[in-house]
Assembly symmetry: C2
Homo-oligomer: 453 residues x 2
């Protein structure tokens, strides 16, 4: 019985790397191809809800290994039925390159053709079309993607609808899908401050080696860390094998924002302040990002998080209640059910890391933290049995921040709060507002170098 | 790959239970046997250093499973050579029933005879003699038991000597060994407050069932818990499988004391105050005891702790630096080396839970905790990177207590300190003094009911 836990292989056995580093080679690949300018997916009011460039980035840099491109119809159908790719490896969501009928007509491509995809007006990637098909019913696709109370009674409590951002993404797709593999031919550059948090799987694994990390636990975030988050990270990291996890990785999902979110810049720099402030030793803490427009699919999103972080090299992943959830569509424990027992109606009669062609990363399912004035510390629900509980209510904290009240030390570390204030000053408001949304959608997280083809 | 961790079997496969519950049956077994009154082992100055009754209790109630009695010569030799019993299961220490030449002559027993052992003047147990042999060189036995820098260069730094209490125990044994199985024929009663912490392995496993605990981590103690201990317990317990350990068990070793120790009563009630004070939910926390005169054998002691707590049903055991150590005889990491890599010279080319007939309990090797005035909390050495560190120095805390200074809240929980004060009042001094030693040696931890044979 060896209890040593080693770094897992990438999902599917090898890291996907579809990035051409040599511009000359990139140009050659794109020469003479029909051109398509990537545009955001928008909802019925014209508000951007997704940008497929993020999926292309995460695919080509290997975060989504073994996915290599836009999925064929049979693959989408298999995913909706049993959450498996055509090569049998488990995967939660359909990922497609979708365009409008008008654009399709104008592009005039078919199977076997190559399309040059432009981003911010510059050559970015190519798509080798292997199949063209139509999504007949996008609402049905959206329902099947997230599940329904009838089909998935174990965890789906309410039918999904337009109040759910992930459902809206699928509902808003264009009708024509170009399926095939992507290749980035002109590497975009992350803009500051995101550039220093950009650790694609290959680089991330090298960074673990450099730091001597064998066991690493991942913290999923879309938040500036308050003390509850900090303690979740520090405490979940006591798991490991014969000793606590060597590394604590924060992986922030960077993508489309919703009003009231913290700006992404404050999120990544706020997490960084936890280690530059020495609350978690910088040698044990690594803040990273992944580009993705959150689908908020709770158990399904947790699977994708497992895929991403296993590909990055993590051995463990912490999950709380209501993981990556919006509203009350799913059971609040749906993610923990998926990782503890499985969800048969989604194709998993056993936990996702016990099924064939499943994941190798291990879950650490955590309960709640609050500040206890009797313990005089951040307390964990399984330990503290005192009556008075100062919970970390996101809306209360946001309200306090919005009112300009400097939060007490038991809510934010001063170093972290300074970051909130810094980006507040920059954007004129502590949270995401229409100005931010417009600016971010125009600028994205990358600059694309000029390239003549 | 199932990551679920189930309660381990007892060491050796089954719990030893050699306690006769029916007094009539007990009397029958002891009828007509020659009688021996158990007396303490004393050092060269006549100070008690061990009482074999504790080994008889721990053996017959199954804490030391699969050990069933006083060891034969071949078994002692095998243990000293490869730390294995004659049935191949690993075990760290020779355990023998030793008597003086005079007592042996007077007793007049030989192989095949049964001896009635009396405790506090009452019938207690029987010993079925299977072999009688002599310890030719007790100093050599003591050296071989703990190791020498020559024979065990991986972990032994200095030769053991009379400043080491475990070495003194082996050096002080009587020369004649009666080897054979014990059976308790008249069940002693634990005296308060020890009675409510008495959970022999069978009862302990039933208690886990009652509480719904599958994963349980053990905390070894000889101390009244300060906040560093409390945080060690709470934090080490985040290990487990897919969720933190269900239970946190404190197992206090109750036995011969040294001047300056806290009284055993303050230790067990102090730990209990952590849960009655609701710092750790009473449903998650169980304070227990085991009778044993500590040998302070660091890695070897940790093996015994593994045996005891695996028999009690624990899945995990927390180990710090200098585990169960006195002085600097062993490398401060010797225990962690044993559980991480093994110590070949002690017979373990691999960790003690990876060798055949080895243990099944898992180690959780922890580093250091201190109070950090910057983090404003008890900090863990792998996380906190601030400069100012208020370490939990045992001698500093003892000095403060001895001076009557009420320790600040960052050292003791008030509920715990009240227990220290309670037993201070009772014994006239906060720590073990000669009066305590004399009283405890006379009273022990048990009363033995009157029994006529």
């Amino acid at each position: 019985m060896s209890i040593r836990i080693d770094r897992p292989e990438p999902h599917g056995g090898r890291l996907i790397d579809r990035v051409v580093k040599d511009p000359a080679a990139g140009k050659k690949l794109a020469k003479g191809c029909p051109v398509y300018d990537i545009k955001p997916t928008v909802d019925e009011k014209g508000v951007p809800v997704r940008n497929v460039y993020r999926e292309i980035m995460s695919t080509c840099y290997g975060f989504f290994s073994p996915v290599e491109g836009s999925m064929k119809q049979a693959e989408v159908e298999r995913i909706l039925k049993e959450r498996r790719l055509l090569n049998d490896w488990i995967f939660p969501y359909p990922l497609v390159f979708d365009i409008s009928e008008e654009d399709y007509k104008q592009l005039g491509v078919t199977s076997g053709d190559r399309v040059l995809l432009r981003l911010k007006g510059e050559p970015f990637a190519i798509l080798d079309v292997e199949e063209v098909y139509r999504i007949e019913d996008r609402e049905e696709l959206a329902h099947k993607t997230f599940g329904t109370p009838q089909d998935n009674p174990e965890v789906v409590k309410e039918p999904f609808d337009k109040k759910h951002p992930g459902w809206v993404i699928y509902k808003s797709l264009n009708p024509v899908v170009l399926a095939g593999k992507y290749k980035i031919i002109n590497e975009p550059m992350m803009v500051p401050p995101f550039d220093r948090f950009w650790f694609p799987p290959k680089k991330c694994r090298e960074e673990y080696d450099r730091r001597g990390w064998r066991t690493v636990i991942n913290h999923q975030t879309r938040n500036v860390p308050h003390l509850g988050h900090e303690h979740l990270m520090k405490n979940a990291a006591y798991t490991g094998d014969s000793e606590p996890c060597h590394g604590i990785q924060v992986n922030a999902i960077i993508g489309v924002k919703r009003k009231g979110d913290y700006p992404d810049e404050a999120i990544v720099e706020g997490h960084e302040a936890v280690n530059t402030g020495n609350y978690i030793n910088p040698n044990r803490h690594l803040v990273t990002i992944c580009l993705w427009d959150m689908r908020y699919g709770n158990p399904l999103e947790s699977m994708l998080h497992g895929v991403i972080r296993q590909n990055m090299g993590c051995t463990h992943h912490m999950f709380g209640r209501d993981h990556a959830a919006v509203g009350e569509y799913y059971d609040m424990y749906a993610t923990q059910i998926l990782w503890d027992k499985g969800i048969p109606s989604f194709g998993f009669p056993a936990p996702v890391n016990e099924v064939p062609y499943g994941l190798k990363i291990r879950p650490q399912n955590m309960a709640e933290f609050w500040y206890c004035p009797k313990c005089l510390e951040i307390a964990y629900s399984a330990n503290c049995n005192h009556k008075e509980r100062q919970k970390f209510s996101g809306s209360f904290i946001r309200g306090m921040v919005a009112e300009g009240v400097f939060p007490p030390g038991v809510i934010f570390r001063p170093e972290v709060y300074k970051i909130v204030a810094k980006w507040w000053k920059h954007y004129g408001y502590p949270f995401v507002n229409p100005k931010y949304l417009i600016e971010r959608e125009r600028e994205l997280e990358v600059d694309v170098p000029h390239m003549e083809i």
